[in-house]
């Protein structure tokens, strides 16, 4: 490392305009390989648990029960995944995947829809109670669902929404983070657009659907990625309100697959389920990487 830095220091400090990411602090030779090596070690640490889970989902129970298990995939892939998807342990995993999908999409679309409408109202209208409304939604930014689980559970039970999709979705869209983001974005939309729409005699909703909504496409997509993952990965809430195995979501259902007594767990099926539980959110993150990073950075601001 030291040799390379000395070398770097000797290079003349000439920098081509515009070439802001290369220059003399660049790594070459052994240093470059050390950098790659460090990153690869990090990657192995990140990937190893997932690799093991994948291997376990392709071998048979006896192979796992006699440790150490092999570190390369076996030939039970189709058997294990078919068994998980069609029968599972308490409920078919295909059913749990469907429940998760409904919940994640419901949360993402539901929250985006109600937030777009209310952000439109508070930015483009003056109405009584607007300030109060604003402070109320501001308050909701503070409280994760984990903090108010017992009373929220009682409310949902009171409505008879246990073991239902609405019970899974509504309490998780009851916050105003998205309203906040859309408001911030609407504030940056040039006033001329609304002015022109008003001069043309366009009704407010027409302006909303024809101009504001298309302009918000990127923000909506970025928020969708974040909310989909948020919804898909929920654990505590489905654990409380879905007592019926056929309503379990996949992320909370995995834990339910472990035997309560001293029996050995059905690891191949459990690991196949874990892999299946990861696939949809991973596809969303990797497939929409740019939007995801943007959504992440903006939603944390």
């Amino acid at each position: 490392m030291t040799g390379r830095d000395a070398l770097a220091a000797e290079t003349p400090p000439v920098k081509a305009p515009g070439a802001d990411h290369d220059g003399m602090v660049e790594r070459r030779g052994a240093g470059l390989w050390l950098t790659h090596l460090g990153l690869i070690v990090g990657l192995l640490f990140i990937f190893f648990p997932i690799w093991l889970a994948f291997v376990a989902s392709t071998i048979s129970q006896p192979e796992i029960a006699r440790p150490p298990m092999p570190l390369l995939p076996g030939d039970q892939f189709i058997e294990n995944y078919t068994r998980a998807l069609t029968s599972g342990i308490n409920a078919p995993v295909a059913l749990m995947l469907g429940n998760s999908l409904v919940m994640a999409l419901g949360i993402a679309f539901g929250k985006i829809a109600i937030s777009l409408l209310s952000a439109f109202a508070i930015v483009y209208f003056r109405f009584p109670g607007r300030q109060l409304f604003f402070w109320l939604i501001f308050l909701t930014l503070m409280l994760p669902v984990e903090v108010r689980i017992v009373p929220t559970y009682e409310v949902v039970a009171g409505f008879g929404m246990l073991n239902s999709y609405s019970g899974l979705i509504f309490p998780l869209i009851a916050s105003a983070t998205a309203t906040f983001l859309f408001r911030q974005f609407f504030m940056t939309v040039p006033d001329e657009l609304a002015e022109a729409a008003r001069v043309d005699g366009a009704r407010p909703m027409r302006f909303f659907f024809d101009i504001l909504l298309p302009m918000s496409r990127t923000n909506i997509a970025a928020l969708f990625v974040i909310l989909f993952i948020y919804g898909w990965n929920q654990y505590l809430w489905p654990l409380l309100i879905t007592t019926d195995p056929s309503m379990n979501t996949i992320v909370m259902g995995i834990k339910q697959m472990f035997p309560s007594g001293d029996d050995i767990a059905d690891w191949p099926v459990i690991m196949a389920t874990s892999i299946l539980a990861m696939i949809p959110p991973v596809i969303v993150v990797v497939g929409m990487q740019r939007l995801f990073i943007r959504g992440l950075v903006e939603s944390e601001k």
Partner: protein, 300 residues
């Protein structure tokens, strides 16, 4: 982010009274029913205890809080949460910073590493818990077996420290991607010329990192500190529940887990509500710190 939400107003607005009210109605109804009412209930319940038959509620004022603060189990849970969140934050931020510094040194390929490192963000904490539980399972775990070969007898079901270590690693593991993204973005926004100037002056890598890069990165670091502590407090429930269920004894019972255990398993509503209110106060403080800090970050 503006300090007061109403600081900026649109010059051009539409006329109408019923339309805007109709537009905010869905959000008002949903937040009133599923947010404000339950939050109010939590505060109300924290002042009462149910009688032994569950027929009526008896007002006890701050009794539940006094009881909690004198309860050695609750105090132990506070300490557990502190240790847990410090460890999760340090491990996940440390590894992420190390990887980000390495990726930032590359001219080509940092994008590829980013893609490869980013997706564990999508793995749910509960699934991460199951993956790590499998590796360290006392009967079939691969890591447990190899540790056994090396002469170390791993058993997180009985050993407090091993249980804590396992939930910390599983929680930190899933968090590395997130921290890595923010650190890498922070590093890439530091002007190259500053670092090169130091290099010309003969500053070695470590010196440059300590005296220039790390101080310039401090806004990102502070931001991540707060966000990671919030994560460790509230979003790691899935990890704890899948791996240890708060055990052995209460060694990994963090505050959020205790709200669940006392409220749903133990059916002690008054105490659980009081715990919720204490958590609420903690989140509020963290949120205020975060907002004040984000304010500073913008004007840095």
């Amino acid at each position: 982010m503006t300090g007061t939400p109403a600081a900026m107003d649109k010059r051009v607005t539409f006329k109408g009274l019923w339309l805007p009210l109709l537009l905010v109605l869905p959000q008002i109804v949903i937040t009133a029913v599923f947010f404000f009412y339950p939050a109010g209930q939590a505060i109300w319940q924290s002042l009462y205890i149910p009688d032994p038959f569950g027929l009526s509620m008896k007002f006890v004022g701050l009794g539940n809080f006094e009881y909690l603060l004198g309860d050695p189990y609750y105090r132990a849970s506070f300490l557990t949460t502190a240790v847990f969140s410090v460890l999760v934050t340090v491990v996940s931020m440390g590894v992420a910073l190390w990887l980000a510094v390495l990726a930032d040194r590359l001219i080509k390929g940092s994008g590829t590493y980013r893609t490869l490192l980013i997706w564990p963000y999508a793995v749910a904490p509960a699934v991460a818990g199951v993956l790590w539980l499998f590796m360290f399972n006392t009967r079939v775990g691969v890591v447990t077996w190899y540790l056994g070969v090396l002469g170390y007898d791993w058993n997180h079901v009985l050993n407090d420290n091993e249980a804590m270590g396992l939930v910390v690693i599983a929680s930190a593991w899933g968090r590395i991607s997130y921290n890595f993204l923010f650190f890498l973005a922070g590093l890439q926004s530091i002007p190259r010329s500053v670092i090169e100037a130091a290099a010309i002056d003969g500053a070695r890598f470590w010196t440059r990192f300590r005296t220039i890069v790390f101080p310039l990165l401090s806004p990102t670091t502070f931001f991540l500190l707060v966000v990671n502590v919030v994560y460790a407090f509230f979003e790691t429930f899935g990890v704890i529940h899948t791996i240890t269920s708060g055990g052995p004894q209460q060694a990994t019972t963090i505050l959020v887990y205790k709200v669940y255990a006392d409220g749903f398993v133990g059916q002690d509503l008054g105490s659980s509500a009081a715990q919720s209110v204490i958590l609420l106060a903690i989140v509020s403080v963290l949120t205020i710190i975060q907002f004040r800090f984000v304010e500073r970050r913008v004007h840095y």
